[in-house]
């Protein structure tokens, strides 16, 4: 490996929605691997690399709070959009005041994690791409606080603050505890775009660290 990075991320709120409770959202206790991947990808991504999350350190105690938000209950229809693109004179809009719905969320408060990840080269990497180059770019971007899009904790409303973590030892909030968090979403399997499947891992937080490097993925 060798080219792992540690990224410290923190923010006021976070919402890593459980799939079973995504209507009245309830967050997982901790960040999911795919949320961590999303954060890294919004900082640095290139077709020639693929981020792999190894570990997540939970630096602050898990706390919840409630909010209610106004949302809409329907999606814009893609078929409708297609017909408009092809010249039909349909109405292409959603009237939020008619579709409005209030939805409650149980969200995390005051979160702070360290993401430990590495990347692998994909077959799309060009001749001049190398691990060293990607690593140099990624760490420079992390040091400078650069990102392609604002990274967020599960929902766009909850922005992430980040920096490169250069500390050797990371102190977690659960130094002497083992906690079973049950089945947590690991990532989505996009190999068949017609049938995207969720993948889950049995997550156990040991001493405040969740290790994804050696876990069985269920799909």
């Amino acid at each position: 490996m060798g080219y792992g990075v540690r990224v410290e991320v923190w923010g006021d709120y976070a919402l890593f929605t459980r799939p079973e409770m995504k209507t009245e959202r309830v967050s997982y206790d901790v960040m999911t691997a795919s949320a961590a991947r999303g954060i890294l990808e919004s900082i640095y991504w290139h077709p020639g690399l693929k981020w792999v999350i190894d570990r997540i350190y939970v630096l602050k105690e898990i706390q919840f709070t409630n909010i209610r938000r106004n949302e809409v209950k329907s999606k814009l229809s893609s078929r409708n959009a297609h017909t408009v693109m092809n010249g039909a004179k349909n109405e292409l809009a959603m009237y939020t005041s008619e579709e409005i719905q209030q939805r409650a969320s149980l969200i995390l408060k005051d979160v702070h994690y360290v993401i430990e990840a590495h990347f692998e080269l994909t077959d799309q990497a060009g001749e001049r791409d190398s691990r060293e180059k990607f690593y140099a770019i990624a760490s420079r971007r992390l040091r400078n606080g650069q990102c392609y899009s604002q990274p967020y904790f599960g929902c766009r409303e909850f922005p992430v603050q980040f920096r490169l973590c250069e500390a050797e030892d990371i102190e977690t909030a659960y130094s002497n505890e083992e906690r079973d968090l049950g089945f947590v979403l690991y990532d989505m399997d996009y190999s068949n775009l017609q049938d995207i499947q969720p993948m889950f891992v049995r997550t156990v937080m040991k001493n405040g660290v969740i290790d994804f490097s050696d876990c069985e993925v269920f799909r």
Partner: protein, 596 residues
């Protein structure tokens, strides 16, 4: 997390035989149809039970274990062995005979289908009934005379074979139903989020009944009834909504049954704000819930018991309570549910060891401890009492802010900081309320002072402030807001003495709020008034006593360039109120001694 815990609870309930088995649920049944072996309707048997509701005795449907029932909205969908008159008799009072007929036909089809290969006596009786019954005969049927009006109006019916044996209890019919359920599952295998096994996925999740303000027919925790909630092509109409959240049929049944079971237990269910709160220990023994209920909502009768529980909680791993031994390390869960649209939302979910939760409650009560007036004999203020202090007694809706209520309970059980909204709400009530004996409204009550004390103790790090957060009066503290509060109380006492106690409005009514918020503006006025009042106190001893007290208090105010603060922060105002409360209690105490 939530569903896992509930599923586990279901399993431990099943172990001790407290709960229905897979494929069955409890339903409210009003009448039994007495049929004989040939399937002829012989009579109607009332199954209602009388129950005491306050002063009245009412007849309520009996709760009976029946095959699991469908979620029905408007379509025709029959249930097995337990259904309404439309489905079993083909008559109802909805004024649509055609529809009732259709219902009957569909029920007939379902029963004949499930029972086609079953040859037991009970199965034959039910089959014969459906084959021979003709809905058009209902009006003339002698057996139904006198009952028909009641039957069509309400409730479910079941079959009683020979008038005694409920059909759904018969072994052969049970087996037939289980087999039918098995064959008619979604059949789609997916990784179950709860159990982790590959099992058939539940298309729809069970309804949870009995949550306050939710639909009486039940609402779901897990539902995807609009397309904004669906993801990645898991469209409800095509695949079944449940695919959005792969939960197995077994887990869905188990968590739903367990949750309904918990909510049904009215004694161990609390309403906090707008949330319905249930709690359970992973071990299904009800004694855990009893102890928890006692600590959450202490009553005067149980205070001593509670005290001994709290004493024991701090030391040891076990707790003996009325002969039962409780393990303090047992995981305990508290779940708060609130309705939102047609669904339920989770207000909070707390998981901790039983002992830790009790410890947090104990600490909370310790923080709340404050000197109290003679007539107030309650040692502990329950969460409900606490929240009532934030409610406007004049309003029609006497419910505290729902979000705050949830947050307060969460803070208490987690041992976390109290929400700022609690202090805000209490201070607002103190500002808005005036003493009114007719309506039993008091501006500053024991509860309000206790909340302020507990809030500041838990949430503030100010050392100077901490020294006045005591149960009774701290006479040595020089903390200015506190001293000013005390001073105000004494000034009020002087006025009362001077006037003989018959005033329409006192300085408390007029000046308390502004003295509390902007002392520098008001105290000069108050001290001027004091000079007028003290002259009218005709008892010399009393006058000297007051003059001494005022002197002592003004001495505590350290004179500098600017002795009185222009304004106080909300926390400081809290301390002012605490000072006022402490001093006032002291005044009454003194008065009592005098009388003796």
């Amino acid at each position: 997390m939530i569903l896992q815990a509930l599923t586990k609870h279901y399993e431990s309930l099943a172990e001790i035989g407290e709960i229905t088995e897979l494929g069955f649920s409890m339903a409210k049944v009003s009448y039994g149809l007495h049929i004989d072996m040939e399937g002829t309707l012989k009579g109607i048997i009332t199954l209602k039970v009388s129950e005491q509701r306050g002063k009245k005795t009412v007849l309520l449907p009996r709760r009976v274990k029946v095959p699991e029932q469908l979620k029905r909205s408007s379509g025709v969908a029959p249930n097995f062995l337990c259904d309404t008159s439309s489905y079993f008799l083909g008559v109802d009072d909805k004024g649509k005979p055609k529809r009732a007929r259709e219902c009957f036909e569909s029920a007939k089809k379902l029963h004949l289908n499930i029972l086609q290969d079953i040859e037991s006596e009970e199965a034959l009786a039910v089959k014969n009934f459906f084959e021979s019954w003709n809905p058009e005969m209902a009006e003339e049927c002698e057996v139904l005379q006198g009952y028909l009006d009641e039957l069509v109006k309400e409730g479910n019916l079941i079959f009683l074979i020979d008038g005694t044996k409920p059909a759904q209890e018969a072994g052969s019919l049970k087996e037939a139903w289980k087999q039918y359920k098995k064959d008619n599952g979604s059949g789609l295998l997916m990784q179950c989020l709860v159990t982790g096994e590959k099992l058939p996925v539940a298309k729809l999740h069970p309804s949870i009944k009995g949550v306050k303000d939710a639909q009486s027919s039940g609402a779901s925790i897990v539902s995807f009834n609009d397309d904004a909630y669906e993801s990645f092509g898991r469209h409800g109409k095509k695949n079944g909504q449940g695919l959005n959240a792969p939960v197995s049929e077994y887990a869905a049944f188990a968590y739903g049954t367990a949750l309904n079971h918990l909510i049904e237990d009215r004694k161990h269910m609390q309403i906090v704000g707008d949330s319905t709160v249930v709690y359970w220990a992973e071990k299904a023994e009800p004694v855990y819930k009893d102890v928890f209920l006692m600590s959450l909502e202490p009553k005067e009768e149980t205070e001593n018991q509670l005290k001994s529980v709290f004493d024991k909680v701090a030391n040891g791993y076990f707790l003996d309570f009325e002969g039962a031994e409780l393990n303090l390390a047992v995981p305990f869960y508290v779940l708060g549910l609130a309705p939102n649209a047609a669904r339920l939302s989770v207000r909070f979910f707390i998981r901790d060891s039983f002992g830790t939760l009790l410890c947090h409650l104990k600490e909370h009560y310790q923080r709340l401890e404050i000197i109290r007036p003679e007539y107030d004999s309650r040692e502990y203020l329950s969460v409900w009492n606490l929240l009532q202090e934030t409610v406007n007694k004049n309003s029609r809706e006497k419910t505290p802010s729902p979000v705050m209520a949830g947050a307060v309970l969460r803070a208490i059980l987690n041992g976390g900081v109290y929400p700022r909204s609690l202090l805000n709400a209490v201070m607002m009530r103190i500002r808005a309320d005036q003493d009114d004996t007719d309506r039993r409204i008091k501006k500053i009550t024991r509860g309000r002072a206790a909340i302020i004390k507990a809030y500041l103790m838990r949430n503030s790090a100010d050392q100077l402030m901490k020294e006045v957060l005591t149960v009774g009066l701290n006479e040595s503290s020089k903390y200015l807001p506190y001293v000013l509060g005390r001073l105000f109380s004494v000034l009020e006492g002087v006025q009362q003495k001077a006037s003989g106690g018959n005033l329409n409005s006192t300085i408390k009514d007029r000046y308390f709020n502004s003295a509390c918020a902007t002392p520098a503006v008001i105290f000069p006025v108050l001290l001027k008034l004091y000079n007028n009042h003290i002259r009218k106190v005709d008892n010399t001893g009393m006058r000297i006593y007051f003059e001494q007290s005022i002197g002592e208090l003004t001495n505590l105010i350290e004179m500098g360039n600017n002795p009185l603060p222009k304004r106080l922060s909300l926390e400081e105002q809290g301390v002012f109120i605490l000072g006022y409360y402490h001093q006032t209690q002291k005044r009454f105490e003194g008065k009592k001694k005098e009388e003796k």
